[in-house]
Assembly symmetry: C2
Homo-oligomer: 246 residues x 2
Amino acid sequence: MTTISDPENTHGHISKQYDHELFDIRSRVLSLGGLVEEQIASAVQSLMEGNVPLAERVIADDYKVNSLEVSIDEECTQILALRQPTARDLRLVVAVIKTITDLERIGDEAKRIARHGIDLASHYPKRNQLTEVEQLARLVRALIRQALDAFARMDVDSALQVAQQDRQVDSVYENIMRQQITYMMEDPRLIPVCLAIMWSSRSLERIGDRACNICEYVIYYVKGKNIRHISLEQVQQDLLGRGRRD
Amino acid sequence: MTTISDPENTHGHISKQYDHELFDIRSRVLSLGGLVEEQIASAVQSLMEGNVPLAERVIADDYKVNSLEVSIDEECTQILALRQPTARDLRLVVAVIKTITDLERIGDEAKRIARHGIDLASHYPKRNQLTEVEQLARLVRALIRQALDAFARMDVDSALQVAQQDRQVDSVYENIMRQQITYMMEDPRLIPVCLAIMWSSRSLERIGDRACNICEYVIYYVKGKNIRHISLEQVQQDLLGRGRRD
């Protein structure tokens, strides 16, 4: 699992217990991230292989993601109530609360992909129909990995790279959509298979969007700047030459 | 617009300014909610009428939703930093932060529906293809209205009703999916129209899910209990006979 490093922020409170709590929520986000990565990997594998037992395991294991998310969320609220963090510490807690919401929803998308894996198992897609989905899945999994790395190291440059790479995800996704519509129109018997592929691809594309959200929280934490709804070019320009806050 | 009432929580801090800030974030959530409701209404209308200028307005107006969300989010972080709220006040701020994220994402779904409105305008769907979508939209809009009312009054019973009614949304949604697949298979020329209807219906169904999320935050605020990932029956049983916290 990715380990936490953040040389400019060792927290360094008089209360070592408080330092430990802040370290702990960050480290638990990475555990949740690891769990969610496994869920995506298994969901995609179940889709590729039409592996029903694996898909069922993904669906059954979703509760693990949910309960870890609830537990971290409660820990964050406790820290807000008891430690009353300010500045950078406050931004960390807020960033963690938002990140775990996205990770939990990524878990839901993995569950949806697994359900489509079950549908596809009885429909036998043409092997080449799945090639591009496999490519999309590879890109999205790399994106999540990099987003979690950016979170572990609180690294703005890495976070910005994720946003850039998400454009490639969107372009592969658009290709898949067009391709499947063509297949459907050529042979309506393929409609159920094509739809399962389209829905799964949409889930993967959404996972990519959520990886970008996580990167936005990293930038919010480090720079104290909310960059949601701002174009990538604008963000790069704004951050260039600006120092860190606090 | 819905007005705020919460007889059991007049805040009543020594600092009237602090009371005002807490009132203000709640009231701004309702403004955001109102804006999002208008976006859904216009998006659905653009879909039904194939009204391209209206759809374009929805897409162009999305920035209003985004900037109001960012502004409320910043106000919440300010309150956390400067007022260091505890107990019920802290839960209010956390509930507001989460609610506005869902409202902003509902705005994104409205934008997606508007885009499908533009697609449909050039494809002329059969009028009866849209009847059930219209019904789904009616249900979902009522759900959002009720979720915002539950938030305005911080009313747990209303919040629970929303979760119950979301089941009806899911069932109408499933019907639409099955129906559109049948249409597609009968006449492949209808595929682009059917897909636009399916994607729009999926957006509406997701809006219903997010209305339920908002209701979960209402229950979290009033009861101090995180009910995410718990079945509706379990929640009703748990809340029965339990008093309010704080």
